[in-house]
Point group: C2
Chain length 340, copies 2
């Protein structure tokens, strides 16, 4: 059994209150006694019990990370893995612990329930990563637990968010293809496509087309299942064989589309150019290396955590910030002028 503050007090013949003050660097303890207490604490390997402390201070020094996606899908996506890593780094540096939970579709959380660790007051604040059901956002607001949303910005909600400029990014990518001379350009989607980042990227694709005077065609847009880029690309090529370029909602789906093209005997970029989004490590390892938008995913995670800590310090009363990260076009070998 680990030593408690009481053991420490008894072994030194002083009061527990004094121990507490000494170890928490509060005034009101003689320098000599303080020395003795600190030494004895190290000797007994005393560590304050988190629950007891949390009970009285109402702070847990813990923050929660809530994924909008199913856990496996979340972690398999290098983008989210980077955000997670950034959050973890910032959290660790501030001496806070990190809890994880997922509010995926089918889970009770998606019905507007708040994660266990929130209702039980075991986290000081929450980082919501990725598209979550709107119910969840509502429940969170009711819970009065400070939170910041990363990579998602529900329309018409005034929240603290950290997002990428998705629409602009997709427009830049599509413009790149248009400038190369492409006219028949498909969009390989992801799930969900009706909201969140992929939706915004679809919007950017559409904007770029319309600016170029090219009609938006529903049948050139496909994708609902997570990591279903291969299937989506297949469907697009069936619907319109003249397609010479594909904009994918992210790198993972872009690389999956490579497979579909290979299966049809089409080569990248000679027959079809492909662009992705996120610049995941694999984008550089495949052949041909993928043209994509680079996003500072670790930085986004860090920034979101920083904002959350700021809210915690300021008492959750500050007006919401919307922080936008810009993505940067990285041209590689997966894009070229269309054939002939």
């Amino acid at each position: 059994m680990r030593a408690t503050i009481k053991d420490l007090a008894e072994s030194l013949g002083v009061n527990v209150g004094t121990i507490s003050r000494a170890l928490n660097d509060k005034p009101g303890v003689g320098p000599e006694l303080r020395k003795r207490i600190v030494r004895k604490a190290a000797e007994l390997d005393y560590r304050p019990n988190g629950h007891a402390r949390g009970l009285v201070t109402q702070r847990t020094e813990t923050i929660g990370l809530l994924s909008g996606l199913d856990t496996h899908a979340f972690l398999s996506n290098p983008f989210y893995a980077g955000v997670f890593a950034g959050i973890e780094a910032e959290t660790r540096e501030r001496n806070h612990a990190l809890m994880f939970a997922s509010a995926a579709q089918k889970s009770p959380l998606s019905l507007g329930e708040v994660p266990k660790f929130v209702v039980e007051n075991r986290v000081d604040g929450l980082l919501v990563v990725g598209p979550v059901e709107v119910n969840v956002i509502g429940a969170l607001q009711d819970s009065r637990c400070p939170f910041v949303v990363v990579d998602y910005h529900p329309a018409a909600e005034d929240l603290d968010t950290v997002v990428t400029n998705n629409t602009r990014g997709a427009r830049v990518l599509t413009d790149h293809l248009l400038q190369l001379g492409h006219r028949h350009i498909g969009f390989v989607g992801g799930a969900p496509l009706d909201r969140g980042s992929y939706h915004e990227r679809l919007l950017g694709y559409r904007e770029a087309l319309e600016n170029a005077g090219i009609a938006y065609r529903q049948e050139l847009v496909h994708g609902a299942a997570p990591a279903g880029g291969c299937e989506s690309a297949m469907k697009i090529l069936e619907a319109e064989p003249r397609v010479t370029a594909l904009v994918a909602c992210n790198d993972v789906n872009a690389l999956a589309a490579y497979g579909a093209l290979r299966a049809r005997g089409l080569s990248v970029p000679k027959d079809v150019s492909v662009v992705g989004f996120d610049d995941v490590p694999a984008a550089l390892e495949v052949w041909p290396p993928l043209t994509t938008m680079r996003v500072d995913r670790v930085g986004m995670g860090r920034k979101a955590a920083q904002r959350l800590f700021q809210k915690l310090a300021e008492g959750n009363a500050t007006s919401p910030h919307q922080i936008v990260f810009s993505a940067e076009l990285v041209v590689r070998a997966s894009t070229a002028a269309p054939r002939k």
Copy 2:
């Protein structure tokens, strides 16, 4: 402010003890009163405070996940992502929360410090995933916090572990190459290579070679940095241009080796066959699809969590179990007979 058990008691005119019994399904409450209490609790949205409960029960209904690697490296590896997902699923189904921390090289944890959430009694048990410093294992044993190690088995320690049969797997892979007729086979390593899974895979590679009467050559083995498969493959090919096959310590490094081969104008599998380990999703998406060992990583995570819960139930006194998962050879298009 969230309602406490006291609020609930007062609003019903009964005692807090009765409330506690009613809500925890303990005997000693009349069915009628119990009904009223349950209804009122729902009405006030009462949830017991985790700290207060943890303080008295000495259980937190939380388990910790400790990564042996740096967080980014950990999450970027689909193998570990799968283990994480399995752990999360099992944990969630048992109504426990999950905390995450990393005991990477440079962190104070690696010097034998135990994670904050362990010393503060905020987790009931711990899952250690991947190769950790031996100091950490020692500290954990001293802490008397029940734990299970996944994908790592320190030599000469009698621990609860869940691992893959790495040596056998690498032998199977190498035998596959030998049967195809390869004689000059390199090994693309990873970090760490002196212990843990990659070390065991190296052993299996070595065993297979020696069984086939082929001398083990130090210069055909390279790799220390994480995800340094490209660089390692380069060095091996420089050291011995006659190499016709590469065994990689995992799929991620195998795919990185593809890049090195492309850079030298070598084609897979015509010039050089490549095999990986883990069967990550990308192994199927690249060209050519990778011959590899399939590992049930989600199952390993689940199993480890199950074992941990079993230990918690049985009071940590049971003798350690070593659970070994077998990997399965998946032959795809990245392997063929050597040229000529």
